[in-house]
């Protein structure tokens, strides 16, 4: 970090406003040419713009959310009355497996990554993510995983061993056919995508922040995404390994014995691996949402956030502790009792950083002048629902209580309170907040309030009764129950709540549809917010910022005075170049050329997707897939390094002074 050595390489000059305006127009034209999105269908496949990829992630994830929601609705119909025969056990098992798998792997994680891939580069003030082509590859890998799951589901090869797929039930002896194989390969595909996005986010935040955005000035949302990305990096290999070992146990001519108790294998090993991923996964979904909340509350409380440092430390502490409590998903299994006590302690401890966050948010509201706009209303809904989910979580940390309610509808209620309350409510808040940035238009406030009210009521109607059902003996994943259990009334209530939630989602769709074209227009900073994504027009141009700027505080648009805040000039207008800054202090360090748009990421994803599909049927697909992937990679490498560019002397625009 010897930034002083670089100091002579940058020049600080004072430029008159008239010159600046001219320079800006000139830059706009030149950058537009360099950064313009490619045209046509092939162009669409090649487009590496982080905003387009982010939006694609979000839209695709919402499509999967809708599909999984329909499955949930069908399950609620089946359970609405006792002894129902709408769905048989086979269909019901596929439905809840695909529902859970979709929500975790195809909705919750990708939607958070999509939001981050859109907003993180904007919030740190750069032009694109660090590795644009890898980013595009990640999206296609995710899409291929989703198509694998839903393609197989449509053909009645839908996974039916639960989203956790515990062996032996998912193993070769008890899950005939190819259903679980599709599941395990699809997991690998989506995790590749998650890992790619995580690497993108970390590298972008570490190396491409605008000058002056030292670590203690990074917006809280960006901090949340950095913590999330690190968690993805350490958690996702575990699930890839679990599903990989399972696939190897099942695969013809491989047929290993990892989970075969008769040959020294261990089904609990799978559970350990799965939950070593599975518990952090919850926080991988939840921490980005806390980032939304930490970002939204100051804007709508009209004051800087209270307790920036404790909030950041809480995020990091949550990230660490989240890896130390996976066994609380296994309290009912024969694992050593002493170990369980340790995990109880850790599970209870994680309530502390989350408590700190909650109190800081309330303090920010308390110390500000809260504005009742739709985004804030969603955040308030989040506080209400997440508090319930969090407190039932504390109950679940206790071994005796957990052994009662584990694998019952109490747990179903708990994690829907945590995941819908903790992630989807802030997500909707964030969508209402950032929609003007995406489209230049507001979502309708009144429809938004109706959407909230119905969703809030429907949600509680659906999931609150499940707490009681679980405590009265209703176990999870049952496709039916008899009338004598007395669970009918509460189940009917829950199912009617699902109808209300469905109506709320239709309202949301209508709102997006209507507002996209006819919503109230928004300027570049309609909420008068403080972070850098609002310092560029809505929607942002392909290059994000004509002139990068520097920041001198945590809330640059509120605190930094425009007269004294330096702008950055001198990046190439001939190629896609971004400014790299130092890790801690964000001093300008060097310039870094990004790759052009390219078809190779798509082709690589295609090859990888086909190999993983082939791997369901024969191990030969592995070497074949590697061979083809290497071919594509050679082309990727070769075509991305055209000598004409590399050997050209670096053309830099002179300063406008």
């Amino acid at each position: 970090m010897n930034s002083t050595a670089n100091e002579p390489l940058t020049d600080l000059t004072l430029v008159a406003p008239a010159h600046l305006a001219k320079r800006e127009t000139e830059l706009d034209q030149k950058l537009e040419k360099v950064w313009q999105r490619p045209n046509g269908i092939v162009g669409w496949l090649c487009n590496t713009n982080h905003k387009d990829i982010g939006i694609r992630y979000v839209v695709t994830a919402f499509v999967f959310f809708g599909l999984a929601g329909l499955l949930a609705f069908a399950m609620r119909l089946q359970l609405a009355v006792p002894d129902n025969t709408l769905l048989g056990p086979d269909r019901y098992n596929q439905f809840f497996t695909v529902h859970g798998t979709t929500m975790m792997f195809l909705f919750a994680v990708p939607v958070m990554e999509g939001m981050a891939l859109y907003f993180v580069p904007l919030m740190v003030g750069t032009r694109n993510v660090a590795f644009p082509r890898m980013n595009l590859f990640g999206y296609y890998a995710f899409l291929a995983g989703g198509l694998m799951l839903y393609g197989s589901f449509a053909l009645n090869i839908g996974a039916d061993a639960g989203w956790f797929a515990y062996p032996p039930l998912s193993g070769p002896d008890f899950a005939p056919g190819k259903r679980v194989d599709f599941w395990s390969q699809m997991i690998t595909m989506t995790e590749i995508s998650a890992l790619v996005a995580a690497v993108e986010i970390i590298c972008t935040v570490f190396k491409q922040r605008v000058p002056g955005m030292s670590l203690n000035r990074i917006p809280l949302y960006v901090w949340a995404m950095v913590v999330t990305a690190f968690m993805i990096i350490f958690a996702m290999p575990a699930v890839m390994m679990a599903s990989g070992l399972l696939a190897m146990d099942r695969l013809t001519n491989v047929t290993t014995h990892f989970f075969n108790p008769a040959e020294g294998g261990d089904v609990l090993l799978y559970q350990h691996l799965f939950w070593f991923f599975g518990h952090p996964e919850v926080y991988i979904i939840f921490i980005p949402a806390t980032g939304f909340v930490s970002n939204l509350i100051p804007v709508f409380a009209r004051r800087p956030v209270f307790g920036y440092t404790p909030l950041v430390l809480s995020l990091i502490a949550t990230g660490f502790i989240a890896f130390g409590l996976w066994v609380h998903h296994m309290f009912a299994t024969p694992v050593p009792e002493l170990g369980k006590s340790f995990f109880t302690g850790a599970s209870i401890m994680i309530a502390i950083p989350n408590g700190v966050q909650m109190f800081c948010w309330i303090a920010t509201l308390w110390g500000g002048k809260p504005q009742f706009k739709t985004p804030l209303i969603w955040v308030l809904g989040f506080i209400f629902i997440f508090m319930i989910g969090g407190l039932t979580g504390v109950m679940l940390a206790s071994v005796p209580i957990d052994r009662q309610v584990h694998d019952t509808f109490f747990v179903v209620a708990h994690f829907h309170y945590v995941l819908i309350g903790g992630a989807v409510f802030p997500l909707f808040g964030a969508i209402y907040y950032w929609f003007p940035k995406w489209t230049g238009r507001f979502l309708s406030e009144s429809l938004g309030r109706w959407h909230f009210a119905l969703f809030f009521v429907g949600f509680n109607l659906t999931f609150f009764p499940m707490h009681i059902l679980g405590m009265h003996g209703m176990t999870r994943r049952v496709y039916t129950y008899s009338a004598e259990t007395g669970w009918g009334t509460l189940n009917l209530l829950a199912s009617s709540g699902a109808v209300v939630m469905g109506v709320a989602m239709l309202l949301f769709l209508a709102n997006v549809w209507k507002s996209r074209r006819t919503g109230e227009t928004a300027g570049s900073n309609p909420w008068n917010a403080s972070t850098l994504e609002w310092a560029t027009p809505s929607p942002p141009p392909s290059y994000n910022f004509a002139q990068l700027r520097t920041v001198g505080s945590r809330d640059p648009l509120w605190i930094d005075s425009p007269e004294t805040t330096a702008l950055v000039d001198g990046l190439s207008t001939e190629k896609r170049e971004v400014l790299t800054t130092t890790l801690l202090d964000a001093h300008p360090d060097h310039k870094y050329e990004l790759a052009e748009d390219s078809i190779w990421p798509f082709l690589l994803a295609l090859v990888v997707g086909l190999s993983f599909t082939g791997l369901i049927f024969h191990p030969i697909a592995f070497p074949l897939g590697m061979g083809f992937a290497y071919l594509v990679f050679i082309l990727w490498f070769w075509r991305g390094n055209e000598p004409k560019r590399a050997s050209l002397p670096h053309v830099s625009e002179g300063a406008a002074s």
Binding site: L147, P168, P172, P176, R250, H257, I616
Partner: protein
């Protein structure tokens, strides 16, 4: 994008294999009825070709074959045939059997029993179970698709799992030749 969808869907269609993943538990009696016209020999005098062998629909259904595998050990077939390697009874992983390896021939062998030790299970099993067993028996020597055949079982390792048998080269177990003769 579009071609990705098409490609993946085409592959999936191929993968679907129609009947492999079917889970209709309720089988109508006619569907699983006993075979007719079982012949023990493929030698056929005269010019006319012998009538074709019966097709056992369960061989295309993964659940049915795995159910056959479960019954194979539950009903103690392993007592004589071991896990296919043979013992008191002949091996089942080599597909060279005195009484034929066609589905209906195996059905008849299970139902009627055979000299020198194979009991007649006709009264003791439903036709559905016999067809399931017949499908599984054929999977032991690679006579059904490896995509439908069961994988390794949660037991001690013995013979290669049914889904890992090369259909072109079934195993030839080292057993005394006396066991080959009736």
């Amino acid at each position: 994008m579009f071609c990705l969808v098409l490609l993946v869907l085409a592959l999936l269609l191929l993968a679907g294999g129609c009947k492999r993943e079917d889970r209709s538990f309720h089988v109508s009696v006619t569907e699983a009825g006993p075979p007719t016209g079982v012949r023990l020999s493929d030698l056929h005098p005269g010019l006319a070709a012998p009538p074709p062998h019966t097709v056992n629909g369960f061989e295309e259904n993964a659940l049915a074959v795995s159910e056959g595998k479960r019954l194979f050990s539950a009903f103690n077939c392993v007592g004589c045939h071991a896990n296919g390697g043979g013992g008191m009874g002949p091996p089942l992983i080599d597909r060279q059997w005195l009484y034929g390896n066609a589905p209906e021939q195996i059905f008849a062998t299970i139902t009627e029993g055979r000299p020198n030790g194979m009991p007649a299970f006709g009264d003791k099993l439903t036709t559905q179970q016999i067809w399931q067993l017949a499908a599984y028996v054929r999977s032991m020597s690679g006579m059904i698709s490896t995509n439908t055949a069961p994988g390794r079982s949660d037991h001690m390792k013995s013979n290669p799992p049914e889904n890992s048998i090369d259909p072109a080269r079934p195993a030839s177990p080292p057993i005394p030749s006396s066991a080959e003769r009736p």
